[in-house]
Symmetry: C2
Subunit: 354 residues, 2 copies
């Protein structure tokens, strides 16, 4: 028998299996609503956060990024990769995990899968932004791009914004079939469309989430009518956009963190001085959101570290008293901090018998 | 029953308990020798690595850092904190964990504790540097600062450089007692000293590893005789040094990565143009190491991401076929990468029964 690590040595760990269990336990629409509230609360105290650009390691086939932030009490970071070619090999384009730590001691306090959690927080962020920017009467949304993120978006807009109808379109009809099948029991009215043009007929919100790493034009200018809210989440790295530049020129553009969005978002197509509004300023009332019925609002979302931070903190609280985590012996915690070697020595199998 | 994650979803995890077991299983001196060889091999291909400065989040009481690197095939990073005030609260000053991932897919392939592993790799790096810089005849080492790192240093210098005698000194005699007790069965001749002056009498190598976050002068100029090798590992952040500036002026200084050492190492006391030699260039024969018997050589070590990378890769290989790891369900890996939601949906407890 080896000496047992102290309580401090254990870090709660939420596996993919546990995350799925937790979300089913709470109910996915409640999770999305809770996450939207949690993220909104952190956007309200936006200036307080450490905002570092992500730390990227690029290769010919993809990127691995670390996204750290801190609110002065809690530190968090996410590991996330982006490998568009993975799908063809039967792998996820994006996988992720995240960590929270105590700023005061530097000790980790949560390790969690974040592939599923990122999908949830992305959808919750989109819906939270739309709550502030979309027409209040919006009930129908076009969902263009029916990949891994699409169902989460549809459910978040149902739960947070009261959307009752989604109009699906993907260049691959099999993706649309999959999305429609997955939403069959959701309570949403699901309409499968055969073109982007058909999908946006009569909608008040257009969500685009396509994954090609190239300058694409999922939407052209003449497709977009007055008064809609566009939620553009597929453009999220240099060289990857979804909207025609002319749409951007007609829109009021809202972003998370301008230094990052200028590089990664739809606005990489525009002059670096083109005016944009920071979403947190709309939420706190420091900037105007939607000002009239004919305005096109665009949330050019690329995902920001604070959203992951909010999501991890939510999970850290939500798992308490549930069976949806294990505890990892991740941190050496000797009785005497100077005696790391003694802790190692006493763990020797024969030594413990003596 | 929920669907089982695929093989790809699992990431090998080495806990503190497992790391201690693995090191006892292999033998600590062999681990230190192997690590020194592994790190030396990576120093030989130094120009090939991505070398990013560490990403630090500072607070009033400490720092949390991410240290990433990549050799183009494998990506690695370490999470590490530094909280000098932790010791007084019964916590470790430094805790750490690390990750390796496949650059081609972005999928993690090892998660490991690194509190113990960092102690091992730091000692292995010091001994590897001394093998290239210290007098070949060195058999006696002064070990000044008898905290958590001290025993690892002594054993690494025994295993890699053939040191047979260590002379211990710490301002706290209890730390010296602890270190001497832990080394009692090591085969080293251990001498407890009551001053730094006494500790360095007749030694060929001086290792300093003290932890105060302040400009300290553990060694003053008149203490250091000709021909010694100084292994200074305690100075590792801005404002924290151990050696009097005059010693630096008399020494040939060798460092890991100048842009980092200029900020964190002993040489922060010197002009930013003061000449230093990169250790990897000595190892590859591109620069001279020790050139004469009376020269004072100084390895001003602050720890670099590549050393962690080497250590993690060693562990990834060493655990194969052993019981010293578990597998974490950390990465969502749906059969159809576009169907993350379907994977979630099928994990619903009631759905699985149907």
């Amino acid at each position: 028998m080896s000496p047992l690590p102290s309580e401090l040595a254990y870090v709660p760990f939420v596996s993919v299996e546990h995350m799925m269990g937790l979300v089913h336990h709470i109910g996915i629409e409640k999770v999305l609503t809770d996450l939207a509230a949690e993220i909104e609360a952190d956007f309200r105290r936006w200036p307080l956060f450490d905002k570092t650009p992500r730390v990227a390691s690029h290769s010919a086939v993809g990127v691995i990024e670390l996204m750290p932030t801190s609110d002065g009490q809690t530190y968090g970071f996410k590991y996330v990769n982006g490998h568009p070619k993975n799908t063809a090999e039967g792998l996820q384009t994006v996988t992720a995990f995240g960590l929270l730590a105590d700023v005061d001691t530097g000790y980790p306090k949560l390790l969690s899968e974040m592939t599923l959690l990122t999908a949830l927080r992305t959808a919750a962020t989109s819906a939270m932004a739309a709550k502030h920017l979309a027409p209040k009467s919006a009930r129908t949304m076009a969902m263009i791009g029916n990949g891994a993120q699409s169902e989460f978006q549809c459910l978040a807009f149902k739960a947070v914004c009261g959307i009752d109808t989604v109009r699906l379109y993907d260049i691959d009809p099999a993706a649309t079939e999959k999305c429609a099948r997955n939403l069959a029991q959701s309570g949403l009215n699901v309409v499968k469309c055969r073109s982007g043009q058909e999908a946006i007929e009569g909608v008040q919100i257009i969500t685009t989430c396509t994954a090609d790493k190239q300058y694409a034009t999922i939407l052209t200018d003449n497709m977009v009518g007055a008064g809609v809210h566009i939620n553009a989440i597929g453009g999220d790295c240099p060289g990857k956009t979804e909207l025609h530049r002319d749409i951007l020129m007609r829109s009021s553009i809202f972003v998370e963190y301008p230094p990052q969005t200028r590089i990664e978002g739809e606005i990489q197509q525009l002059d670096s001085e083109h005016p944009v509004t920071e979403l947190w300023q709309v939420i706190t009332g420091q900037a105007q959101g939607r000002s009239d019925d004919r305005q096109i609002t665009l949330f050019d979302s690329v995902g920001f570290a604070i959203e992951d931070f909010s999501a991890l903190r939510y999970v850290a609280r939500a798992i308490k008293g549930t069976p949806f985590f294990t505890r990892l012996d991740m941190i050496a915690d000797p009785d005497d901090p100077r005696d790391l070697f003694g802790m190692f020595q006493r763990a020797e199998p024969e030594a413990a018998v003596a």
